[in-house]
Protein backbone atom coordinates (compact mmCIF):
# COMPACT_ATOMS: atom_id res chain seq x y z
CA UNK A 1 0.00 0.00 0.00
CA UNK A 2 2.87 2.38 0.77
CA UNK A 3 4.00 2.73 -2.89
CA UNK A 4 0.45 3.69 -3.89
CA UNK A 5 0.27 6.34 -1.20
CA UNK A 6 3.64 7.66 -2.29
CA UNK A 7 2.52 7.93 -5.91
CA UNK A 8 -0.62 9.70 -4.81
CA UNK A 9 1.53 12.08 -2.81
CA UNK A 10 3.92 12.69 -5.69
CA UNK A 11 1.04 13.37 -8.04
CA UNK A 12 -0.76 15.79 -5.77
CA UNK A 13 2.08 17.36 -3.76
CA UNK A 14 4.86 17.26 -6.41
CA UNK A 15 7.52 16.75 -3.79
CA UNK A 16 9.38 13.58 -2.81
CA UNK A 17 9.74 14.49 0.84
CA UNK A 18 6.12 15.56 1.14
CA UNK A 19 5.09 12.26 -0.48
CA UNK A 20 7.24 10.30 1.98
CA UNK A 21 5.66 12.24 4.83
CA UNK A 22 2.21 11.50 3.45
CA UNK A 23 2.97 7.76 3.40
CA UNK A 24 3.90 7.81 7.04
CA UNK A 25 0.97 9.89 8.08
CA UNK A 26 -1.63 7.90 6.14
CA UNK A 27 -0.26 4.54 7.29
CA UNK A 28 -0.19 5.77 10.85
CA UNK A 29 -3.76 7.06 10.65
CA UNK A 30 -4.89 3.81 9.05
CA UNK A 31 -3.32 1.71 11.80
CA UNK A 32 -4.83 3.96 14.45
CA UNK A 33 -8.23 3.65 12.83
CA UNK A 34 -7.94 -0.13 12.66
CA UNK A 35 -6.94 -0.30 16.31
CA UNK A 36 -9.91 1.86 17.20
CA UNK A 37 -12.20 -0.44 15.24
CA UNK A 38 -13.12 2.22 12.71
CA UNK A 39 -12.19 0.03 9.74
CA UNK A 40 -14.78 -2.71 9.85
CA UNK A 41 -14.41 -4.22 6.40
CA UNK A 42 -10.78 -5.10 5.67
CA UNK A 43 -11.72 -5.93 2.09
CA UNK A 44 -12.28 -2.20 1.60
CA UNK A 45 -9.02 -1.09 3.14
CA UNK A 46 -7.83 0.41 -0.19
CA UNK A 47 -10.83 2.72 -0.29
CA UNK A 48 -10.21 3.75 3.28
CA UNK A 49 -6.55 4.50 2.56
CA UNK A 50 -7.39 6.46 -0.59
CA UNK A 51 -9.97 8.47 1.31
CA UNK A 52 -7.42 9.18 4.02
CA UNK A 53 -4.90 10.28 1.36
CA UNK A 54 -7.41 12.69 -0.14
CA UNK A 55 -8.29 14.10 3.25
CA UNK A 56 -4.67 14.58 4.30
CA UNK A 57 -3.66 16.19 1.01
CA UNK A 58 -6.62 18.54 1.29
CA UNK A 59 -5.50 19.46 4.78
CA UNK A 60 -1.96 20.01 3.60
CA UNK A 61 -3.21 22.27 0.84
CA UNK A 62 -5.27 24.20 3.32
CA UNK A 63 -2.15 24.72 5.33
CA UNK A 64 -3.46 22.68 8.22
CA UNK A 65 -1.07 22.04 11.07
CA UNK A 66 -2.29 18.52 11.67
CA UNK A 67 0.31 16.92 9.37
CA UNK A 68 3.22 18.55 11.13
CA UNK A 69 1.74 17.84 14.54
CA UNK A 70 1.20 14.16 13.80
CA UNK A 71 4.62 13.71 12.26
CA UNK A 72 6.28 15.35 15.22
CA UNK A 73 4.20 13.25 17.57
CA UNK A 74 4.81 9.87 16.00
CA UNK A 75 7.54 9.60 13.40
CA UNK A 76 10.61 11.40 12.12
CA UNK A 77 10.50 11.92 8.33
CA UNK A 78 12.54 9.41 6.36
CA UNK A 79 12.89 8.72 2.66
CA UNK A 80 11.79 5.11 2.53
CA UNK A 81 11.69 4.61 -1.21
CA UNK A 82 14.92 4.73 -3.20
CA UNK A 83 14.43 6.03 -6.73
CA UNK A 84 14.89 3.40 -9.43
CA UNK A 85 17.48 4.42 -11.98
CA UNK A 86 16.11 4.43 -15.53
CA UNK A 87 18.40 3.18 -18.28
CA UNK A 88 19.31 6.60 -19.62
CA UNK A 89 21.37 5.37 -22.56
CA UNK A 90 18.47 3.30 -23.81
CA UNK A 91 16.03 6.10 -23.16
CA UNK A 92 18.24 8.56 -25.08
CA UNK A 93 18.45 6.12 -27.98
CA UNK A 94 14.67 5.68 -28.00
CA UNK A 95 14.05 9.43 -27.79
CA UNK A 96 16.38 9.81 -30.74
CA UNK A 97 14.14 7.51 -32.78
CA UNK A 98 11.06 9.64 -32.25
CA UNK A 99 9.85 12.11 -34.84
CA UNK A 100 10.94 15.69 -34.18
CA UNK A 101 7.54 16.84 -33.00
CA UNK A 102 7.20 13.84 -30.71
CA UNK A 103 10.59 14.43 -29.13
CA UNK A 104 10.00 18.13 -28.56
CA UNK A 105 6.55 17.48 -27.14
CA UNK A 106 7.58 14.76 -24.67
CA UNK A 107 10.70 16.57 -23.49
CA UNK A 108 8.97 19.92 -23.07
CA UNK A 109 6.01 18.19 -21.41
CA UNK A 110 7.90 16.13 -18.90
CA UNK A 111 10.79 18.46 -18.19
CA UNK A 112 8.57 20.74 -16.18
CA UNK A 113 5.35 18.77 -16.35
CA UNK A 114 3.70 21.30 -18.56
CA UNK A 115 0.10 20.98 -19.64
CA UNK A 116 -0.70 20.24 -23.26
CA UNK A 117 -1.96 23.80 -23.54
CA UNK A 118 1.38 25.30 -22.50
CA UNK A 119 3.35 23.02 -24.81
CA UNK A 120 0.94 23.74 -27.63
CA UNK A 121 1.47 27.49 -27.26
CA UNK A 122 5.25 27.05 -27.25
CA UNK A 123 5.36 24.86 -30.33
CA UNK A 124 2.59 26.35 -32.41
CA UNK A 125 0.34 23.29 -32.16
CA UNK A 126 -3.18 22.75 -30.87
CA UNK A 127 -3.47 21.28 -27.37
CA UNK A 128 -5.45 18.34 -28.75
CA UNK A 129 -2.65 17.71 -31.22
CA UNK A 130 -0.10 17.83 -28.41
CA UNK A 131 -2.04 15.18 -26.48
CA UNK A 132 -2.26 12.94 -29.53
CA UNK A 133 1.47 13.38 -30.23
CA UNK A 134 2.28 12.72 -26.56
CA UNK A 135 0.18 9.56 -26.44
CA UNK A 136 1.75 8.24 -29.61
CA UNK A 137 5.27 9.14 -28.50
CA UNK A 138 4.85 7.48 -25.11
CA UNK A 139 3.64 4.31 -26.77
CA UNK A 140 6.64 4.29 -29.08
CA UNK A 141 9.05 5.07 -26.25
CA UNK A 142 7.76 2.28 -24.06
CA UNK A 143 7.88 -0.17 -26.93
CA UNK A 144 11.42 0.85 -27.77
CA UNK A 145 12.59 0.67 -24.17
CA UNK A 146 11.11 -2.78 -23.72
CA UNK A 147 13.08 -3.98 -26.72
CA UNK A 148 10.74 -3.49 -29.67
CA UNK A 149 11.13 -0.99 -32.46
CA UNK A 150 9.93 2.54 -31.78
Amino acid sequence: MAPRIRLYGLRHLRDEQAAADLVQQVLMMTIESMRAGKVRDLAKIESFVLGTCRMVVLEIRRGGARRERLLEQYLPPVSAFPEPAPDLDKLAECLGRLAERERSVVVMTFYEEHSSETVARALGLSSENVRVIRHRALGRLRKCISGGNA
Binding site: R11, E83, A99, E100, V107, H114
Partner: protein, 185 residues
Amino acid sequence: MSCANPLDPAILADYWLAELPPGEESALEEHIFACQDCTRQLESVIDLAEGIRTLARHGNLGMVVTREFVDRLVRQGLRAREYAPQAGGTVDCTVTAHDDLLIGRLAADLTGIDRVDVALCDPSGAERQRLQDIPFRAGLSEVMLNYPIGLARQSGRDVLVMKLLAVTSQGERVLGEYTFNHTPS
Protein backbone atom coordinates in the same frame (compact mmCIF):
# COMPACT_ATOMS: atom_id res chain seq x y z
CA MET B 1 -0.11 -8.87 -15.89
CA SER B 2 -3.02 -9.99 -13.75
CA CYS B 3 -5.08 -6.78 -13.89
CA ALA B 4 -8.28 -7.44 -15.79
CA ASN B 5 -8.55 -3.82 -16.96
CA PRO B 6 -5.00 -2.46 -17.17
CA LEU B 7 -4.83 1.31 -17.46
CA ASP B 8 -3.36 2.72 -20.64
CA PRO B 9 0.07 4.27 -19.91
CA ALA B 10 -0.97 7.30 -21.95
CA ILE B 11 -3.91 7.81 -19.59
CA LEU B 12 -1.57 7.36 -16.63
CA ALA B 13 0.60 10.08 -18.14
CA ASP B 14 -2.45 12.32 -18.44
CA TYR B 15 -3.15 11.62 -14.78
CA TRP B 16 0.44 12.44 -13.82
CA LEU B 17 0.20 15.70 -15.74
CA ALA B 18 -3.14 16.57 -14.08
CA GLU B 19 -4.91 16.52 -17.43
CA LEU B 20 -7.76 14.15 -16.62
CA PRO B 21 -11.23 15.46 -15.84
CA PRO B 22 -11.91 15.22 -12.05
CA GLY B 23 -14.34 12.31 -12.39
CA GLU B 24 -11.91 10.26 -14.44
CA GLU B 25 -9.08 11.12 -12.08
CA SER B 26 -11.03 9.92 -9.09
CA ALA B 27 -11.98 6.63 -10.77
CA LEU B 28 -8.38 6.09 -11.86
CA GLU B 29 -7.10 6.62 -8.31
CA GLU B 30 -9.58 4.11 -6.97
CA HIS B 31 -8.35 1.61 -9.52
CA ILE B 32 -4.70 2.26 -8.72
CA PHE B 33 -5.23 1.85 -5.00
CA ALA B 34 -6.69 -1.58 -5.60
CA CYS B 35 -4.27 -2.69 -8.30
CA GLN B 36 -0.60 -3.49 -7.91
CA ASP B 37 -0.03 -3.88 -11.65
CA CYS B 38 -1.32 -0.45 -12.50
CA THR B 39 0.62 1.02 -9.57
CA ARG B 40 3.75 -0.35 -11.24
CA GLN B 41 2.66 1.08 -14.57
CA LEU B 42 2.24 4.49 -13.00
CA GLU B 43 5.67 4.17 -11.40
CA SER B 44 7.16 3.37 -14.79
CA VAL B 45 5.50 6.45 -16.33
CA ILE B 46 6.97 8.60 -13.54
CA ASP B 47 10.38 6.97 -14.01
CA LEU B 48 10.18 7.72 -17.72
CA ALA B 49 9.38 11.36 -16.97
CA GLU B 50 12.32 11.54 -14.57
CA GLY B 51 14.63 9.97 -17.14
CA ILE B 52 13.57 12.52 -19.75
CA ARG B 53 14.21 15.34 -17.28
CA THR B 54 17.67 13.99 -16.52
CA LEU B 55 18.59 13.69 -20.19
CA ALA B 56 17.31 17.19 -20.92
CA ARG B 57 19.40 18.59 -18.05
CA HIS B 58 22.47 16.83 -19.45
CA GLY B 59 21.95 18.52 -22.82
CA ASN B 60 22.28 15.28 -24.71
CA LEU B 61 19.05 15.38 -26.66
CA GLY B 62 19.20 16.69 -30.18
CA MET B 63 15.93 18.52 -30.59
CA VAL B 64 14.12 21.70 -31.47
CA VAL B 65 13.69 23.89 -28.41
CA THR B 66 12.12 27.25 -27.70
CA ARG B 67 13.63 30.42 -26.28
CA GLU B 68 11.46 30.01 -23.18
CA PHE B 69 12.62 26.43 -22.62
CA VAL B 70 16.31 27.36 -22.85
CA ASP B 71 15.81 30.36 -20.59
CA ARG B 72 14.16 28.15 -17.97
CA LEU B 73 17.10 25.74 -18.04
CA VAL B 74 19.50 28.66 -17.66
CA ARG B 75 17.51 30.03 -14.72
CA GLN B 76 17.86 26.60 -13.13
CA GLY B 77 21.63 26.95 -13.29
CA LEU B 78 22.55 25.31 -16.59
CA ARG B 79 25.04 27.07 -18.82
CA ALA B 80 24.03 27.45 -22.44
CA ARG B 81 26.44 28.22 -25.25
CA GLU B 82 24.57 29.74 -28.17
CA TYR B 83 25.67 30.36 -31.73
CA ALA B 84 23.55 32.36 -34.13
CA PRO B 85 25.11 32.63 -37.58
CA GLN B 86 23.35 34.74 -40.16
CA ALA B 87 21.70 32.90 -43.03
CA GLY B 88 24.49 32.19 -45.49
CA GLY B 89 27.07 32.89 -42.81
CA THR B 90 29.71 30.98 -40.88
CA VAL B 91 30.42 30.96 -37.18
CA ASP B 92 33.43 29.58 -35.33
CA CYS B 93 32.27 27.49 -32.42
CA THR B 94 33.42 25.25 -29.64
CA VAL B 95 32.17 23.69 -26.45
CA THR B 96 33.88 23.54 -23.08
CA ALA B 97 33.62 21.33 -20.04
CA HIS B 98 31.68 24.10 -18.32
CA ASP B 99 28.87 24.17 -20.87
CA ASP B 100 25.66 22.23 -20.36
CA LEU B 101 23.75 23.11 -23.51
CA LEU B 102 24.82 23.82 -27.06
CA ILE B 103 22.25 25.83 -28.96
CA GLY B 104 22.22 26.72 -32.63
CA ARG B 105 19.93 29.60 -33.59
CA LEU B 106 18.93 29.61 -37.23
CA ALA B 107 17.36 32.87 -38.34
CA ALA B 108 14.81 32.65 -41.13
CA ASP B 109 11.50 34.04 -42.29
CA LEU B 110 9.01 31.25 -41.60
CA THR B 111 5.95 33.21 -42.64
CA GLY B 112 3.39 31.15 -44.50
CA ILE B 113 5.38 27.93 -44.29
CA ASP B 114 3.69 24.71 -43.27
CA ARG B 115 6.56 22.27 -42.98
CA VAL B 116 10.21 22.81 -42.20
CA ASP B 117 13.03 20.26 -42.22
CA VAL B 118 16.56 20.76 -40.95
CA ALA B 119 19.30 19.04 -42.91
CA LEU B 120 22.64 18.54 -41.17
CA CYS B 121 25.23 18.36 -43.93
CA ASP B 122 28.96 18.15 -44.44
CA PRO B 123 30.70 20.98 -46.36
CA SER B 124 30.12 19.19 -49.68
CA GLY B 125 26.38 19.30 -49.07
CA ALA B 126 25.97 15.58 -48.34
CA GLU B 127 23.32 15.06 -45.68
CA ARG B 128 24.43 13.44 -42.46
CA GLN B 129 21.05 13.66 -40.81
CA ARG B 130 17.67 15.23 -41.42
CA LEU B 131 15.22 16.44 -38.81
CA GLN B 132 11.87 16.15 -40.54
CA ASP B 133 8.84 18.31 -39.98
CA ILE B 134 10.17 20.19 -36.99
CA PRO B 135 7.74 22.00 -34.69
CA PHE B 136 7.81 25.77 -34.95
CA ARG B 137 5.59 28.62 -33.94
CA ALA B 138 4.18 30.86 -36.61
CA GLY B 139 5.62 34.34 -36.46
CA LEU B 140 9.00 33.35 -35.03
CA SER B 141 12.05 34.54 -36.88
CA GLU B 142 14.41 31.74 -35.86
CA VAL B 143 14.58 28.03 -35.15
CA MET B 144 16.53 26.93 -32.07
CA LEU B 145 18.21 23.55 -32.03
CA ASN B 146 19.76 21.86 -29.03
CA TYR B 147 22.74 19.96 -30.40
CA PRO B 148 23.76 16.91 -28.29
CA ILE B 149 26.62 18.33 -26.26
CA GLY B 150 28.24 14.94 -25.73
CA LEU B 151 28.65 14.55 -29.49
CA ALA B 152 30.16 18.01 -29.79
CA ARG B 153 32.64 17.27 -26.99
CA GLN B 154 33.79 14.09 -28.72
CA SER B 155 34.13 15.77 -32.09
CA GLY B 156 37.46 16.89 -33.50
CA ARG B 157 37.68 19.80 -35.92
CA ASP B 158 34.56 19.66 -38.01
CA VAL B 159 32.42 21.75 -40.29
CA LEU B 160 28.68 21.26 -40.02
CA VAL B 161 26.30 22.94 -42.41
CA MET B 162 22.70 23.23 -41.27
CA LYS B 163 20.04 23.94 -43.85
CA LEU B 164 16.54 25.07 -43.08
CA LEU B 165 14.25 23.73 -45.77
CA ALA B 166 10.66 24.60 -46.56
CA VAL B 167 9.01 21.39 -47.73
CA THR B 168 5.88 21.28 -49.88
CA SER B 169 4.27 18.70 -52.13
CA GLN B 170 6.08 20.41 -55.02
CA GLY B 171 9.48 19.93 -53.47
CA GLU B 172 11.68 21.89 -51.11
CA ARG B 173 13.53 25.17 -51.04
CA VAL B 174 16.33 26.39 -48.86
CA LEU B 175 15.29 29.04 -46.35
CA GLY B 176 18.77 29.48 -44.95
CA GLU B 177 22.15 27.81 -44.75
CA TYR B 178 24.33 28.11 -41.65
CA THR B 179 27.89 26.90 -41.31
CA PHE B 180 29.30 25.90 -37.91
CA ASN B 181 33.06 25.69 -37.87
CA HIS B 182 33.77 23.58 -34.81
CA THR B 183 37.09 23.49 -33.00
CA PRO B 184 37.64 21.41 -29.84
CA SER B 185 38.31 23.55 -26.78
